[in-house]
């Protein structure tokens, strides 16, 4: 057993083990001490993804293939594989799960046992999506992830929860239908769904041949992109996203925006780009969806009446940036997309944690009932400003560097117009963020909010932790850029 194999198997077994051990205890004990079990699972994930990355980097291999209970070398068997970019997403899953547990300690009360079990199965589903090496297993783990989300949203059984969950379920199943149909069409062509067999399929297809299988190949690409775009929640397919984020408990919203729509949506598009990036329309359609999403998401965010809805539409807009970076198809584009995924996780989780603090202390998230909380909640106001600066891409935050990387990638790929639009759209994101900050924190304190106090305990810890990550990454980014330069990517 090497360190790498322990790390790799841990991604699959650790969540299952936590669920098994957690359910051995009696209900009252489990409910009281859920933070230790779920926190341990999340911490293990953070530590092993960091350790695994360094060990793999030291050994100089490209990837590490393993099976859960079987030998990955068997002919025709499905297997898991760990490789470079996956580690960053595994780290994000661990980090978001950790923050969500810290917030859930305050916001979730009666459903803590269900929350812990579902969180661990959700982590398992997302790890599975990141580790598998064929499209069908990707679908299966995507379904696991989706089902945990539906139940976690509907778990609190209010009218809004059930409504948000039902809308998410219907659109998510529509995307599953799209993706599975695409999988079937691709299988008609190749007879196998492994990434290694599918890669480069595009170069063997001639566009104008008119044969049934070639037509079906292009139909499959369209279906794959729209399926994963629904899961990401970018503009033509965004209708479920604000409803689901608003209705879910804040601890669940953090999971949805921080990890689920990146792993289930954007990672799927990364796989599509890796396999079929050489077919020109794929990159172009991602760029089109991305640019529309950036602008319309920001415009819709300006006029929302609810704190979480503003943040949700901001998510739509930021996903557009990630898609724009991916659409270049270059290594720098992929690096920029991953960098923005990470900084988006940090600042969007901060905003949702602040939402939990506001909900707990002020009792409402309707913007018309909030105002002037700067003096009562100084830490929350400060972390919120840092998160806004990062969203709008202003130095010295992580968001600035990842947006710079996106613009550089677009410029390098030869589309300066898209780069300019991405730059100018940053002004739109400052517009809705300034509105949010002004209504909630600045101005006169409302008389009914005079008794509000600062958040405390684990919510405050989560706010500070995420802000340290945003600022720390912002200050460390020049070194990362130097590493990229030394690696010949920049």
């Amino acid at each position: 057993m090497t360190i790498l194999s322990i790390c790799a198997h841990g991604f699959v077994y650790c969540p299952i083990l936590v669920v098994l051990i957690y359910n051995l205890f009696n209900h009252e004990f489990a409910r009281k001490h859920f933070i230790w079990f779920a926190g341990a699972g999340a911490t293990w994930q953070i530590l092993t993804s960091a350790a695994g990355f360094f060990v793999l980097h030291q050994s100089g291999q490209n990837g590490y293939a393993f099976g859960a209970l079987w030998d990955p070398g068997l002919p025709g068997s499905a297997y898991f594989e760990l490789s470079g970019p996956r580690f960053l997403l595994l780290l994000i899953v661990g980090l978001v799960a950790f923050v969500s547990v810290l917030v859930a300690h305050h916001t979730v009360d009666f459903n803590r046992s269900s929350y812990t079990n579902l969180l661990m199965i959700l982590v398992l589903g997302m790890n599975g999506m990141l580790l598998v090496t064929d499209l069908f297993s990707l679908y299966v783990f995507m379904e696991v992830t989706g089902l945990c989300c539906f139940i976690m949203i509907a778990m609190f059984r209010s009218r809004a929860d059930l409504e948000g969950s039902f809308k998410y379920l219907i659109l998510s199943e529509l995307s599953s239908i799209f993706i599975l149909t695409a999988v079937a069409f691709l299988m008609m062509k190749t007879g196998s769904l492994r990434y290694t067999d599918l890669a480069g399929l595009g170069s063997r297809i001639s566009a104008g041949s008119g044969r049934l299988e070639d037509v079906l190949f292009y139909a499959a690409l369209v279906l794959l992109i729209s399926g994963f775009a629904i899961k990401t929640g970018v503009v033509p397919f965004h209708s479920w996203l604000p409803d689901a984020y608003q209705s879910a408990d804040t601890a669940v919203s953090i999971l949805l925006s921080g990890a689920v729509n990146k792993v289930a949506g954007v990672y799927g598009l990364i796989v599509v780009m890796e396999l079929f990036g050489d077919v020109a329309p794929v990159g172009k359609s991602l760029a089109a969806v991305g640019i529309v999403s950036i602008i319309i998401g920001a415009l819709l965010a300006v006029r929302q009446p609810h704190y979480k809805r503003v943040v949700a539409y901001s998510s739509v807009s930021q996903m557009g940036y990630i898609l724009l970076a991916l659409s270049t198809g270059t290594t720098l584009g992929l690096v920029a997309a991953l960098a923005h995924i990470f900084s988006h996780t940090a600042f969007k989780s901060t905003l949702f944690t602040n939402a939990a603090a506001l909900q707990e202390q002020a009792g409402t998230l309707e913007l018309q009932d909030l105002g002037g909380l700067e003096n009562q909640m100084p830490v929350t106001a400060f972390t919120s400003i840092i998160a806004f600066l990062s969203t709008a891409g202003i130095p010295p935050t992580a968001g600035f560097w990842s947006k710079i990387l996106i613009i550089l990638a677009l410029w390098q790929a030869g589309s300066p117009v898209l780069a300019a639009v991405a730059l100018i759209a940053g002004i739109l994101s400052s517009a809705y963020l300034i509105r949010l900050q002004r209504t909630v924190f600045f101005g006169q304190t409302r008389p009914e909010l005079a008794g509000v106090k600062e958040a405390h305990g684990s919510v405050l810890t989560a706010e500070i932790l995420l802000t340290v990550i945003t600022l720390g990454l912002g200050l460390l980014y020049p070194y990362i850029l130097m590493l990229l330069h030394a690696g010949g990517i920049l």
């Binding site: 069908f136 409504e163 219907i170 529509l174 079937a184 069409f185």
Partner: protein, 101 residues
């Protein structure tokens, strides 16, 4: 027209019927049924893919896995619909007006 084309057309019609059901009905259970009909069409496509590419055993395992997944989705969807029925006393989708912005 050979068998493959006929089955493809039948599958596409079933998906179209499912999506039509999603758009045109206002009943929560009918919407869930629409999703299920479209999923059945997808399993048909998977069997067809196995037949065309000659790996029928692989596609059979896929179909069985998809059946399990969609059964669980149907259970969760119906459960949510029942929860909504208990809150509103009807299954009409036009009641869902809590989330607006």
């Amino acid at each position: 027209m050979n068998l493959v084309t006929v089955l493809l057309i039948i599958g596409l019609l079933m998906i179209f019927a499912g999506c039509w059901c999603l758009m045109r009905t206002y009943h929560l259970l009918k919407i869930t049924i629409g999703i299920e009909v479209a999923m059945k069409a997808v399993t048909l496509f998977l069997v067809l893919a196995g037949r065309i590419s000659g790996s029928l055993a692989l596609s059979e395992t896929f179909v069985i896995t998809v059946m399990v997944a969609e059964a669980i989705v149907a259970v969760v969807g119906t459960g949510t619909a029942v929860g909504l029925f208990r809150k509103y006393g009807s299954m009409d989708v036009r009641n869902l007006k809590q989330l607006k912005g």
